[in-house]
Amino acid sequence: MSRVPRPIAIAVLGVLAACERPDVSRERADTALPAPTLVTAPASAIGDTPRASVSLTPFRTIGRRATAAEIRAWDIDVNASGVGLPAGSGSYARGAAVFAQQCASCHGARGEGLATNPRLIGAEPRDFSFALDPKIPKTIGNYWPYATTLYDYINRAMPFTAPSSLPANDVYSVVAYLLAENGVIDRSRTIDAVSLPRVRMPARDRFVPDDRTGARGFR
């Protein structure tokens, strides 16, 4: 096709700031754009931080639009705000039954861990002294900062041999069971899309941003 745009190669000799961030304000969904603009590093830049062949504008002819069904099928994540949590709810009692059937064979009858499969239950230590001794087990109760992570992880990766096979009510119930056994919530608490993001984990305030910066000094 003669109208296929030919990429324009621009040798960038110095400032590469232009490709640091696209000007998203100028993005318009269905406007035909001119030829893709490629950025290539100069030949002398071997060994420089390479940004060769980065397109600054879309091609519009590679790939296709995703369908809503495709997105729905794979968009499984649940974030710390609770976005992504499905309808449904869970109880401690049902969670105990599901745990016994689906989880206990690897994690132990009371979540104490078996062989190399991690321990799940334990409120101690409360002083977050993990750096001092590698033998201190990290559990949901003493280390996990967000309760939503339980739903996200159990739903995506558990049970180990049949991941993503539990219905939402069963996942919510196992989450309720694990949170109660860790002493984070009462056994009477119902866990659903509203209540789960509100559960405050004991280790919530322990996590800090990475403060390593390179240069001199060791952190």
Binding site: C19, E20, R21, P22, V24, S25, E27, A29, G47, D48, T49, P50, R51, S53, V54, S55, P58, R60, I62, G63, R64, R65, A66, E70, I71, W74, D75, D77, V78, N79, A80, T116, D127, F128, S129, F130, A131, L132, D133, P134, K135, K138, Y143, W144, Y146, T149, D152, Y153, F160, P163, R206, F207, V208, D210, R212, G214, A215, R216, F218, R219
Partner: protein, 409 residues
Amino acid sequence: MSDQHISRRAVLAGAAVTAGAALLKKLPSASAQEVVSSGIPVDSSSTPGAATSAQSVRSAFEQPARTPVGVLTGASSTPLQHLTGTVMPNDLLFERHHSGIPTIDPAHYKLLVHGLVHRPMVFTLADLKRFPSTSRVYFIECSGNGRGAYRDPKPEMTPQLVDGLTSNGEWTGVSLATVLREAGVRSGAEWLLAEGSDAAKLSRSIPIEKAWDDAMIVYAFNGEPLRPSNGYPARLFLPGWEANTSIKWLRRIEVTDQPNMSKDETSKYTDPLPNGTARQFSFVMDAKSIITAPAHPTRLAPGWHEVSGLAWSGRGRIVRVDVTTDGGRTWSQAELQSPVLPKAHTRFRLMWQWAGGAATLMSRATDESGYTQPARDVFEAARGRGTDYHFNHIRSWRVERDGQVVFGG
């Protein structure tokens, strides 16, 4: 250990050939058809050799192997002590996976890009290969690399067992920025969630700045398609960052306004500190080095030896490596193999004459940010004995009086 076994077999076979060759030199009248006990002719030029083949194999005398640990949740380390230079063979690239290695038909591979984008998109593998490609040499390192050597150092540890969860080579793929621009990132986008199609559906949140910097989606390593254990048919690749963020078998990128707080960025891959906090999103692998020769299980003879090893930094280029052979009393600047590439293994070398006494060898890397690898006591004071990741302290190899080299922690 399999390493010792393999080394011994290779050494014995090699020794037989060497001894045979020496014998031939001493005895010029020996028959060219003489065959040593291994069944191999002493003079290979006396008879035509093996036939051509579709795929070459290693010499029978060279059998470097990885060290698989675990089954479905496991790792397999690169035999650093058997390799030279910086580019590593594809079958020896280390692997780490959380729920087995998926089998993916490339004809059915799809990458979904959605979230805060103008155009949610699906790309096939063929689509990804239509974008402008780029090939770059980078190291990759598991953030848990060196944990065993830190917590439980043993004299019989080889470079592979100390630090074999790092490899280096040429990655080919498309810039992540190019792929994101095809979907059109909307304002408010701060993070990406990258997710694999393994049974763990391993997911990590990535600051979107990394995409505008040097992140790639790669489909080839050292000139051929990725191997299944390394993410076939396509994976994310984040230069200089802890390897678990370079999501293998990449099937989904969701552009978001906040990190997901997934299991592998909260309960794992975080760094508890002695002050009762834990460092989170500690992506960059800081400067590090390891001497790969001489190292265990080598036994030295007195005389000249090349001290050789690898240095790398997730913050850019290595600018110098210092080597000591006297336990840190004196340091000498090693020669760096050029070209020194950013975020890539850099080979360093220093000739050293071993006089026969006890010696302790160490290497200390400095990167272009001015950061120098810490001593073990400095590392332990800052991070604690129970720290889980980012083990980049200086390592040591002890040479015993009989020449045996052992890991010194």
